[in-house]
């Protein structure tokens, strides 16, 4: 069976849940593996994701039709280049509404495009309700529930909270220690470059912290891709 072109939609209706971090991590994972991608940042005011990858990420205003055309038309191109969308929390509702208005899911199916929503959970009931609304609107939508312990820790009841979300697929992103976090947040820091050749002047503790943090994340991405490929495989 032909592989569909994947569109990763990193989103949450709330701020500080780590959606941009996930978009960055996915991007770095692809770059580290020598693969191309096309990214979209729907925060036209402070586009952190777009600013980090200016050559490959398009900054769009999802509230404007021009921005929607620039993004959704490209997302529906079956070119086997993974797409990554960092959905700004303020544009979340508009993004989902537009998906419905333009019949995005139906067209994606026809165009051999596979949208995968990386829904960033937090402990609020509104987050849970938003995930269920998405699943109810598009039961066929691939959803992965992402928890970022550094950005939006779910606390001691994490497993009970997660059990209520409508997807059993999970990505878990751990918390970074303070010095590694400062390094990761630096505007010119590239994780993929770091993994290929760590700067010699970087503290060994920071290097170790970053490597330990990113290894399980990349493993999850790799496992997920393998699972997707196996699902699409004609022969097993």
């Amino acid at each position: 069976m032909e592989q569909r072109t994947r569109v990763y939609i990193c989103c949450s209706p709330h701020k500080r849940t780590g959606a941009t971090t996930t978009a960055r991590l996915l991007t770095e994972y692809l770059l580290f593996n020598g693969r191309g991608f096309a990214g979209f940042d729907t925060d036209p005011h402070e586009p952190d994701y777009g600013a980090r990858f200016p050559q490959a990420v398009t900054i769009v205003d999802a509230a404007k039709v021009e921005g929607q055309v620039a993004m959704f038309d490209r997302l529906l191109v079956h070119d086997e280049t993974p797409k990554i969308v960092d959905v700004w929390h303020r544009s979340y509702s508009r993004f989902i509404e537009t998906m419905g208005q333009i019949g995005f899911m139906d067209e994606a199916r026809r165009a051999m495009v596979q949208p995968i929503v990386l829904f960033h959970a937090d402990a609020t009931s509104a987050s849970l309700a938003a995930s269920h609304a998405l699943a109810a609107q598009w039961p066929e939508l691939g959803m992965v529930v992402v928890t970022n312990k550094g950005a939006a820790p779910l606390g001691p009841d994490a497993s009970d909270i997660l059990a209520q979300f409508p997807s059993s697929r999970r990505f878990a992103i751990g918390a970074l220690d303070a010095s590694s976090r400062a390094c990761f947040d630096a505007p010119d820091f590239s994780l993929s470059r770091f993994l290929q050749a760590p700067p010699p002047d970087m503290s060994i503790v920071t290097r170790t912290g970053l490597r330990a943090w990113v290894a399980p994340i990349f493993t999850q991405f790799q496992t997920f891709e393998l699972q997707m490929s196996m699902q699409a495989a004609q022969f097993l």
């Binding site: 039709v65 021009e66 055309v69 959704f72 038309d73 208005q101 333009i102 019949g103 995005f104 067209e107």
Partner: protein, 245 residues
């Protein structure tokens, strides 16, 4: 089924009358209802530009053109005729139809007559309702609020509105929702029916490269209009049924 005439008109220009006629033509075509259209914007019609295959441009004041419309109602294979009146000529068209005896034939049950009266946002549109009332006693009469170009109908206060409505019997209402300006503009540029645009085809049926987003907006907009037509039971009216209460 007896022949049906659907007149789309307004006495004010720029209210989106032809847009309504185009949406109607698309809806009927989509329902496999064979339809012909007359564009009274003679000599060059806007409706003709978008629905060239089904549309003839006519001069409603010309006797020969009146004959082309009315005298062929019974003989034409196509039983549904849309008449898109030129800007500002609804009352004149209605008078012309009265003078040739069309309304007498409607009263006798020979033809079905449906009037879509497209209103503008100003009070002048309400005055049109009063002017139109004498002609519509045997028509299925619908007042169309066209929001496609973002009209807000801000000048209509409810009391005035009700006062005018009470002057017309059996007037129903129809709302044409707003369509994204960019999507509307692209269909204009394409010069094709809305349904062709949605199908990513040019006006002459070739594959086009229209934006998916804009096609999606037009598709959703058409769906809402179809709901409006279904709400008033348009197909049943065309088939000769009584209006929905």
């Amino acid at each position: 089924m007896k022949p049906a005439v659907i007149l789309v008109g307004a006495d004010k220009g720029g209210v989106g009358k032809t847009t309504v006629a185009r949406a109607l033509a698309d809806y009927l075509t989509g329902k496999n209802i064979m339809t012909r259209a007359f564009d009274t914007e003679s000599p060059r019609g806007t409706l003709k530009r978008f629905h060239g295959d089904m549309t003839e441009v006519v001069d409603i004041d010309s006797t020969s053109d009146q004959m082309r419309i009315i005298d062929t109602l019974n003989t034409a294979q196509v039983k549904v005729s849309i008449i898109d009146t030129r800007a500002g000529s609804l009352a004149r068209t209605l008078r012309a139809l009265r003078d040739v005896g069309f309304f007498d034939a409607v009263r006798e049950g020979q033809f079905t007559f449906i009037l879509f009266h497209v209103l503008g946002p100003s009070i002048a549109s309400l005055d049109e309702i009063a002017e139109t009332a004498p002609f519509v006693s045997n028509a299925h009469y619908f007042l169309v609020k066209n929001h496609v170009n973002d009209s807000t109908f801000f000048e209509w206060d409810p009391a005035t509105y009700q006062n005018y409505f009470s002057k017309t019997r059996s007037a129903g209402e129809l709302t044409i929702p707003k369509l994204s300006e960019m999507a509307y503009e692209q269909v204009e540029i394409a010069g094709s029916p809305f349904s062709q645009f949605v199908a990513n085809k040019t006006g002459d049926g070739r594959q086009a490269a229209h934006s998916f987003v804009l096609r999606g907006y037009v598709r959703t907009w058409q769906g809402k209009i179809a709901e409006e037509f279904e709400e008033i039971g348009l197909l049943d009216l065309i088939a000769g049924a009584s209006p929905k209460k």
